[in-house]
């Protein structure tokens, strides 16, 4: 690392050279008694009021005093800002400058001072938009790193809430925080993840997904093995369960590892309801998952292979509705599912002002016109509608898209071999599920391997796992929530 020289002039020139004479970097020279002081900050990143009120104005007021100790220490102790860092090399200087610090260079010292004057460049704490709930806290993480950490800290006021901070990205230099509760978490996993994040060699990090994609062992599967959430209460719940949260600067999405398959069908809200009601809700979600992944496949199987599996009246009705449809059922199904996926994708991207037009076209095309035109049968519209509605019950976007691919797999197998095909696809799906590991822990737990004591927090929710116990797969110490173990180290 290149050390700073003691001449302020030289430092300024070097910085100008390094940043290509950036227009947003302001360089101000002040005379303090006889000493020249250079003030350096980025106009874009700093809060001008802060710089004016606390730094420039300070020099104005006290400029004639003669300090007892050396000037740098004097300034460090007296300038009224909340965070001051003293540094002696270019790398730190530039990093601070580009993080919104104001740099004060005093001629004749080979150290400089950096004062935090960061402007708030994020959207502020807003209601969550991707995981809306009815009951419970509604605040969401923001793009601001410190705010995000703060939102967790204010929920868990425990000195054991520890944070490892790593800076990732050669150019982006984003802060990554690994947050965990020290006397619950599996420390080996923390070390493992910290090490892996440290080893990341990348240009920049735009979202928490970058980190997880680079450190996860689960690259070839479409099902996510991490929960990505913007709800601080959910993160706090998971931290107390011994999970590790990875907070990435500039994104409101916090990643929680390790996460299990069944947890994608859970919601933070489950804990704010009566446990029995929450259990029913969870069962409905699980049912919806089965429906969404199997309905089109079963429909195709029973209409084109296993006619004997339908009650007769239904067969007559299916047969009557299929009359005049020119395509095989599988083509019909693929057509409709793909149309729905396109519609869904468009709906996400489209500005809300044009959204209503899309709704009208979607309803007409999918619901009515296709049937009247005789391209699809009415029952197929129902099948796709059920599939689509059930498919959106999972709030996790990663999971929704993962399920989508498996739905196609089931569909194609059922078109080839009917119900037997569905069983084959189901087998492949189960093999896939059970072979995934989420940071060393079986992803499909607590079903396979089966943990009877964890069934209370899977398809159902029990008071025991809500209030008394932690998940023993992730929590390594203090598994009992109500007692505190003595640490014998």
């Amino acid at each position: 690392m290149e050390r700073l020289p003691s001449s302020g002039k030289r430092i300024i020139n070097k910085i100008k050279e390094k940043t290509g004479n950036a227009p947003d970097i302001i360089n101000k020279m002040i005379k303090f008694n006889d000493t020249t002081i250079y003030i350096l900050f980025s106009e874009a990143l700093t809060d001008n009021a802060l710089v004016n009120e606390f730094i420039l104005e300070y020099f104005e007021k006290v400029s004639k005093k003669e300090p007892n100790e050396d000037l740098l220490t004097y300034l460090e102790m007296n300038i009224p800002t909340h965070k001051t860092v003293r540094m002696n090399n270019y790398d730190d200087l530039i990093y601070s400058l580009l993080s919104g610090f104001t740099i004060i260079i005093v001629d004749g010292y080979d150290e400089i001072l950096a004062f935090e004057t960061k402007a708030k460049l994020d959207s502020g704490v807003l209601e969550t938009r991707s995981e809306t709930i009815i009951k419970g806290p509604k605040d969401a993480f923001t793009e601001n790193y410190q705010t995000s950490i703060g939102m967790i800290r204010k929920r868990i006021k425990d000195p054991k809430l520890w944070i490892n901070e790593i800076i990732v990205g050669k150019r982006g230099k984003s802060k990554i925080a690994i947050v965990y509760i020290d006397d619950i978490v599996d420390k080996k996993l923390v070390q493992h993840i910290t090490q892996k994040i440290k080893n990341i060699d990348i240009d920049m990090v735009m979202d928490s997904n970058y980190i997880i994609d680079l450190i996860s062992e689960n690259k070839r599967n479409v099902l996510p093995n991490y929960i990505s959430t913007e709800r601080p209460d959910r993160v706090a719940q998971f931290l107390l369960d011994g999970r590790i949260a990875i907070i990435t600067e500039h994104t409101p999405f916090v990643v929680i590892v390790p996460s299990f398959f069944i947890e994608f069908f859970h919601s933070a809200e489950d804990f704010y309801e009566k446990t029995l009601n929450a259990s029913v809700t969870r069962m409905i979600r699980t049912l919806a998952f089965i429906i969404t992944i199997l309905t089109p496949a079963i429909y195709v199987a029973i209409t084109s292979h296993n006619h004997e599996a339908i009650p007769e009246n239904l067969l007559i009705s299916f047969s009557a509705q299929r009359e005049g449809v020119p395509f095989p059922t599988i083509v019909e199904a693929l057509l409709m599912i793909t149309t729905f996926e396109i519609l869904k994708e468009t709906d996400i991207r489209i500005p809300s002002t044009i959204g209503s037009a899309l709704t009208i076209v979607g309803t007409l095309v999918l619901g009515d016109a296709a049937v009247i035109a005789g391209i699809v049968s009415p029952i197929m519209v129902i099948v796709i509608a059920i599939t689509a509605i059930s498919g959106l019950i999972v709030y996790s976007f990663d999971m929704v898209n993962g399920i989508r691919l498996w739905r196609y797999v089931f569909l194609i197998f059922s078109a080839i071999a009917g119900i037997i095909g569905i069983f084959i696809a189901g087998l492949i799906f189960l093999i896939n599920l059970t072979s995934i590991k989420t940071f060393g822990i079986p992803y499909f737990a607590p079903f396979a391997p089966f943990y009877p004591e964890l069934q209370g927090d899977s398809i159902t929710l029990s008071d025991k796992l809500k209030f008394k116990k932690r998940n023993l797969l992730t929590a390594k110490r203090n598994i009992d929530r109500t007692k505190e173990e003595k640490m014998n180290e």
């Binding site: 004997e308 067969l315 009705s317 047969s319 005049g324 080839i416």
Partner: protein
């Protein structure tokens, strides 16, 4: 290399999918759903008739936007007929009239003509057992005094699909009236191959003329000219039809065979032609055949739980002695019914459709071997004993005579 293999695999899967060579692949609208099969004999040939669903005329049919066009007075079924040296050949010949292949997996009813039933039904059974598409739980019925093809021609009101009509009324009659026997094919074959027991099969009658019944006018009126009526178990000897049990005989028959779910029995409650009616809620019958004095003797132990549903005699039913009195009368009546049934089976049909022989076969196998060869003759001269126990559970909301003096 691995990647190329995967692409190949996907390619192959797509080809399999898009070609119609899929395993057992059959599109719903590319097949004719057969709801009823009728089997008759014509000279040396089998005459096979089918009742096929006319999907276009089903509710919700024809996905051309005109969704309420279904039904609407048009028959929901179509009738086809063909001859063949075997049943399957006949069925296959029907394809000459059709555009789609036949699907008999959901067949609702198989009817055999009386003529063929008299000659023997083994050939029919063979075909139905051998066929791998149909489930073996469809109703299997003999057309009484009629051809099976005629039965399938009749259009029925209320339920527009005649086969389903037959199937539903079969279930209702069995559940509430108890005059049918062996509703479904699987029961028929089980009985047919049981040792020491002859089989009985439900029968169906055409009331009215066939020519009028097959026109859609038959269902366009409130008083259909021609209807179908399920009734009367047909009794077979080996595989040949020998006759029908009629009316109360059928109920008696089902009481002995312990097949009553619910039935209604009227009995005379005094000497002046006044009648009472009971609903039988539960019957339990145990059959026993033993050898006494070198002769097989059967015992029928029946327990009947019933409730009184109408009563027109002048008796105060709040008194126990009167209850006992009518119990006695019910007892007599049911005993008479059973005796009549057994008499008919013994003397007229000489067919052990009750299963006295089966009881011997099950419990006294060595004795059975002695009688095995000539069992039906033994049966027709056999003694039996009836132990009847009646329990009147409920006499209704009024206890007394309802007519004002």
């Amino acid at each position: 290399m691995n990647k190329i293999n995967k692409i190949k695999l996907i390619f192959i899967l797509m080809i399999i999918m898009l070609s119609t060579g899929c395993w057992n692949y059959r599109e719903l609208n590319k097949m004719t759903i057969v709801s009823g099969i009728g089997i008759d004999k014509k000279d040396d040939y089998f005459l096979i008739s089918i009742q096929a669903l006319n999907a276009q005329n089903q509710p919700g049919g024809g996905s051309n936007g005109n969704q309420d066009s279904g039904g609407g007075g048009n028959p929901g079924v179509a009738f086809f007929q063909a001859e063949g040296k075997s049943i399957f050949e006949g069925l296959n010949n029907i394809l000459l009239n059709l555009t789609n292949e036949l699907y008999i997996g959901h067949v609702d009813v198989v009817i055999i003509g009386e003529e063929i039933a008299k000659e023997g039904i083994y050939e029919v059974i063979d075909f139905l057992l051998r066929d791998r598409e149909s489930r073996k739980i469809f109703p299997f019925i003999i057309a009484k005094n009629a051809k099976a093809s005629d039965v399938l021609k009749i259009l029925t009101p209320i339920e527009p699909l005649p086969s389903i009509n037959i199937k539903s009324s079969l279930e209702i009659i069995a559940a509430l009236k108890g005059t049918l026997s062996n509703k479904l094919f699987d029961r028929v074959i089980r009985n047919l191959y049981t040792e020491g027991r002859e089989v009985s099969i439900s029968s169906i009658e055409i009331i009215g003329s066939v020519d009028k019944g097959k026109k859609s006018e038959n269902i366009a009126t409130s008083d259909p000219e021609t209807t179908l009526r399920l009734n009367d178990p047909a009794i077979l000897l080996k595989d040949k039809l020998v006759g029908y049990l009629e009316g109360e005989e059928a109920i008696g028959y089902n009481i002995i065979r312990d097949k009553i779910e619910k039935t209604v029995i009227s009995f005379p409650c005094d000497q002046n032609n006044n009648y009472g009616t009971i609903i039988v809620d539960k019957t339990t019958t145990k059959l026993k055949t033993e050898i006494k004095n070198n002769k097989p003797v059967s015992t029928i132990d029946t327990y009947i739980k019933c409730s009184l549903s109408s009563f027109s005699c002048k008796l105060d039913l709040s008194k126990k002695k009167n209850i006992d009195k009518i119990s006695k009368r019910i007892d007599d009546k049911i005993k008479k019914m059973i005796e009549k049934t057994i008499f008919k089976l013994q003397k007229e049909f000489k067919s052990d459709a009750i299963g006295f022989g089966e009881m011997l076969y099950r419990h006294h196998y060595k004795d059975w071997l002695k009688y095995k060869d000539d069992w039906n003759n033994t049966f027709s001269n056999m003694d039996y004993k009836i132990n009847l126990k009646i329990k009147i559970d409920n006499i209704g909301a009024i206890t007394n005579y309802s007519r004002k003096e």
